[in-house]
Amino acid sequence: MTAGAGEHSHPRYMLIWLYLALLTAAEVGVIYLDFLEKWMIVTSLLIMASWKALLVALYYMHLKFEPNRLRLVALAPLPAVAIMIVIIMMEYV
């Protein structure tokens, strides 16, 4: 076991849950804000989604408390994902 999760006190799981719930509510709320431009809505949605994803990965999946080597494993596919989506998208712009 790592020096992480076991001995340390737990992150406040309920607080994270509250964050997640509130962010979800905010996301659903944003799409009703008609006075915003479309691109603003989309950007804010993407930011909130990434934020939520990050919260889950860091706290619920304990990445925050894992050694760097394991984080490396977890991050490994992201460059591949980025390359794939960006290059294929270039076809259409």
Partner: protein, 597 residues
């Protein structure tokens, strides 16, 4: 199949305590060595099937207007019977090309490189008792089995086997009304999903094992190059295979439940249309890493066998490792070179040319370092070594022909001609398969406890080398003359008038090449039963697997070895009684840290 595995002599103590039924021991075994052997029989069988399809195909190409020899035994779905014999049907030819490519790539070469050797070698060379997840490992073999069965079955369903090429370009592959193939295409796609599952399960296992189960002292840069290569390969498989699975599933949906991911509606630009190019992007995003999955392990075996056969450390070990890593990385950003003429945005063509050409750099490092390994060596030309040297010689040709295609303007002309077919086979047969033959000759004693016959091995090598070149070298010429791929009959084209004789020579040699496979098969099976008993370390090799009995007992080690040296220490000046230094031997001899010069 599995019954053929020789009864290993020294069974482990653990084993005796828990007597196992025949089923648990050979069929549903979780022992990585047994699983490796299962994969070996499985893949050799499909190598034979793939070869058979090739020979059938070649006969049609050489004598396009004549009936097939023995064509009469084929069913009506494959041949048209006339009074003077049975003629191959064009749709059957398409099925042959498709299934030849698919079977060779997915059911023979890839599982032979990875399923067999990653399973067999990773725990043995790292000093582990078994894989990290033995039961997952067993599952990865057993998911391969339905893939094979579905593939074989697809030849006999209504409409015949898949016929849209191994690249499955949509919308041809997605619309049964345009190919006439219905079930066959779907069965093959399902088989592909199974192959993907098997390879993902395998990869998870190999990666975890390498990361976490190395013996004490087995640092990253003391790992044998084979393990490095298999590790990088597993990463490629892990990241590329799921994309193919996803794309394959979407293609299945297009065929069965009426989605239209890849099917445009007829009127150009119609609002409802799917994107045929999306298929190509997804396929090749997988496909190019796939071809490196098919070559990197072969490079690993070669490095290792060359070092043993030359009695020298690998030349530039660290550079070899970094070359593997950079080939793998570049492999993810070059897939567009298969799509230069596909209607893809030409500006992307520019970027893909440059990235593709850059792969020649790490490949050059590898090639010249292999030659450097042989330089001033003391070459032992046993069969394994011969095949390894043959690998270097043939891979170089295949790689160099890749440079023509990487140059976009040249690719305009040679794309989809036999020049590509020549390239494919120089890298896949001259490369991967040569190295695989080498690996089989080399590790056979460890796997089955007996030696293969050297004389037959050498005859097999020379026959293969010569016939291989007679078959595939002229294909460059045929391609330059402009012969397209995947054509059933070329006689209708004026620009192809001069290629008849060449095609016939190729075919005759191809039959010989196929036959030489049986010489190998004979040697293989005969040696399993009757071969000379193998010593623990027949080649005087230094990696860990040679420090245990041949074949190793269940669990490999009663005690995990401790590693003190780099992987390929041969002819060390301080070691005088023999010319090798085992990785777990005598800490008193000091070897330079791997990679320092």
């Amino acid at each position: 199949m599995a019954t053929a595995i020789a009864e290993p002599t020294g069974r482990a103590v653990i084993e005796e305590a828990h007597p196992q039924s025949f089923l648990r021991k050979y069929l549903f075994s979780t022992d990585h060595k047994v699983i490796a052997a299962q994969f070996l029989f499985y893949t050799l069988f499909f190598l034979m099937i793939g070869g058979l399809l090739a020979v059938l195909m070649r006969q049609q190409i050489a004598w396009p207007t004549e009936p097939l020899t023995l064509g009469g035994i084929l069913p009506e779905t494959m041949v048209a019977k006339a009074t003077d014999g049975a003629y191959m049907l064009p749709e059957f030819y398409n099925a042959l090309v498709t299934m030849h490519g698919s079977v060779m790539v997915f059911l023979a070469i890839m599982p032979m490189l990875v399923g067999v050797w990653a399973n067999f070698l990773i725990p043995l060379q790292l000093g582990a008792h078994d894989m990290a997840f033995p039961r997952l490992n067993m599952l990865s073999f057993w998911t391969m089995v339905p893939a094979g069965i579905l593939t074989l079955a697809s030849f006999f369903v209504v409409g015949g086997a898949a016929g849209a090429g191994w690249t499955l370009y949509a919308p041809l592959s997605a619309r049964p009304d345009l190919t006439g193939v219905e079930m066959g295409q779907i069965l093959w796609l399902i088989a592909l999903v199974f192959v993907g599952l098997s390879s993902i399960l395998g990869s998870v296992n190999y990666i975890t094992t390498v990361i976490n189960m190395r013996a004490p002292g087995m640092t990253w840069f003391r790992m044998p190059l084979t393990v490095w290569a298999l590790f990088i390969t597993a990463i490629l498989g892990l990241l590329a295979m799921p994309v193919l699975s996803a794309a394959g599933i979407m293609l299945i949906f297009d065929q069965t439940i009426g989605t239209s991911f890849f099917i445009p509606s007829n009127a150009a630009g119609d609002a409802l249309s799917g994107q045929p190019l999306l298929w190509q992007h997804l396929f090749w995003f997988f496909g190019h890493p796939e071809v490196y999955i098919l070559i990197l392990p072969a490079m690993g075996f070669t490095s290792e066998i060359l070092a043993v056969g030359s009695r020298k450390p690998v030349f530039g070990y660290k550079a070899m490792v970094w070359a593997l890593i950079s080939i793998a990385f570049l492999g993810f950003i070059v897939w567009g070179h298969h799509m230069f003429q596909s209607g893809m945005n030409p500006a992307l063509g520019l970027a893909f040319t440059v990235s593709t050409l850059f792969i020649a750099v790490p490949s050059a490092i590898k090639t010249f370092n292999w030659m450097g390994t042989m330089w001033r060596g003391n070459l032992q030309l046993h069969s394994a070594m011969l095949f390894a040297v043959g690998f270097v010689a043939m891979f170089a040709i295949g790689g160099l022909s890749g440079v023509f295609m990487a140059s976009t303007p040249v690719d305009i002309y040679i794309h989809d001609t036999y020049f590509i077919v020549a390239h494919i086979h120089y890298v896949l047969f001259g490369g991967s398969l040569f190295a695989l033959f080498g690996a089989i000759y080399f590790w056979f004693p460890k796997m089955f406890g007996r030696m293969m016959n050297e004389t037959l091995g050498k005859i097999h090598f020379w026959l293969t080398l010569v016939l291989f070149n007679v078959v595939f070298f002229p294909m460059h010429g045929v391609g330059m003359a402009g012969m397209m791929r995947r054509i059933y009959d070329w006689t209708g084209y004026q620009h192809l008038e001069g290629i008849g004789a060449t095609n016939q020579i190729i075919t005759i040699a191809a039959v010989g090449l196929f036959a030489s496979g049986f010489l190998f098969a004979f040697n293989f099976f005969w040696s399993i039963w009757k071969g000379e008993k193998a010593p623990d370390n027949p080649w005087g090799a230094s990696t860990l697997e040679w420090s245990v009995p041949s074949p190793p007992k269940h669990g490999n080690w009663s005690e995990i070895p401790v590693v003190y040296h780099g992987p390929h220490e041969y002819s060390h000046p301080d070691v005088t009684d023999k010319d090798w230094l085992g990785q777990n031997e005598r800490p008193d001899v000091v070897t330079p840290a791997a990679g320092s010069h």
